[in-house]
């Protein structure tokens, strides 16, 4: 994170912080919806729904996992993840391999096709994001990540199912 400290780096008082974070969240909503829509519009091209995309992305970072593990990792219901995994499997993007640690719950792994697909999607997204020009510095982005992570942590305890 940022360890070189900036001038107005004094931690904010909770009240003002809450105020500012409300503003941040007012941005998150529209951003999420717009990107979601844009991704959906492009989905037919790739053949990936947002859910499948998320599964592939997870497997790409974390390596093979079981369905319930993925659900917990993303705070999604296990049933939903299962559906997405089934869908991905039907498209040959993902496959089940025996789980040494559990006979019944097999590990899900990216196939070559799946790896290629998620790589392609990420590349397209990166290309889009490269158009966010301007004067954003590393410090800006780091701070953004930090703030969002902090907010996310607040909602960690929301248990699903």
């Amino acid at each position: 994170m940022t360890d070189a400290r900036t001038p107005h780096d004094a931690p904010l008082a909770p009240d003002e912080l809450a105020d500012r974070l409300t503003q941040v969240f007012a941005l998150v909503g529209p951003l999420y919806r717009r990107v979601h829509r844009k991704v959906e519009q492009a989905a037919p091209l790739e053949g990936l729904s947002a859910g499948v995309r998320a599964v592939l992305d997870l497997l790409r970072e974390h390596g093979p996992m079981t369905v319930p593990q993925m659900g917990r990792a993303q705070a999604l219901s296990r049933q939903f993840v299962q559906r997405m995994v089934n869908e991905a499997a039907a498209q040959g993007l993902v496959e089940a391999i025996p789980n040494p640690a559990h006979q019944r719950s097999s590990l899900i792994r990216l196939t070559d096709a799946g790896g290629a697909a998620i790589t392609a999607v990420l590349a397209r997204e990166r290309a889009l994001l490269r158009q966010v020009g301007g004067d954003l510095s590393r410090a800006d982005v780091d701070a953004c990540t930090k703030v969002l992570a902090r907010m996310l942590a607040l909602f960690d305890d929301v248990d699903v199912n």
Copy 2:
């Protein structure tokens, strides 16, 4: 925004920027979903759906507007906004007043009840956000806002309908 410049404030190269923004977006998704769920769980208490909440919030900041204006402001389909407005009107949170500039498309305005409702909701949300403790500085939050706004601008051209 930040005008006092920090050490590592050099604008990032587009490639690295895209990389970092991908990470940012990986946070936005889960955050949005989690908050959405949490808000939904609390919704019965307030009787406000997320859509109605968004409409009230918009009217609170911008004052009376027509339905299509709201749709454009949030990049939502006019039909969807209309549905939310109807729902809000049915709950007495919102009312139509004559539009001097347009005979057919009336202005939508918060009622007293609507104002009270959105104020209460915002207060509750602020109370939650006040728990995001830690060392977040004004600079951090400003940077976050800046980054998100920049990303949002990229998707402004996504036309709806």
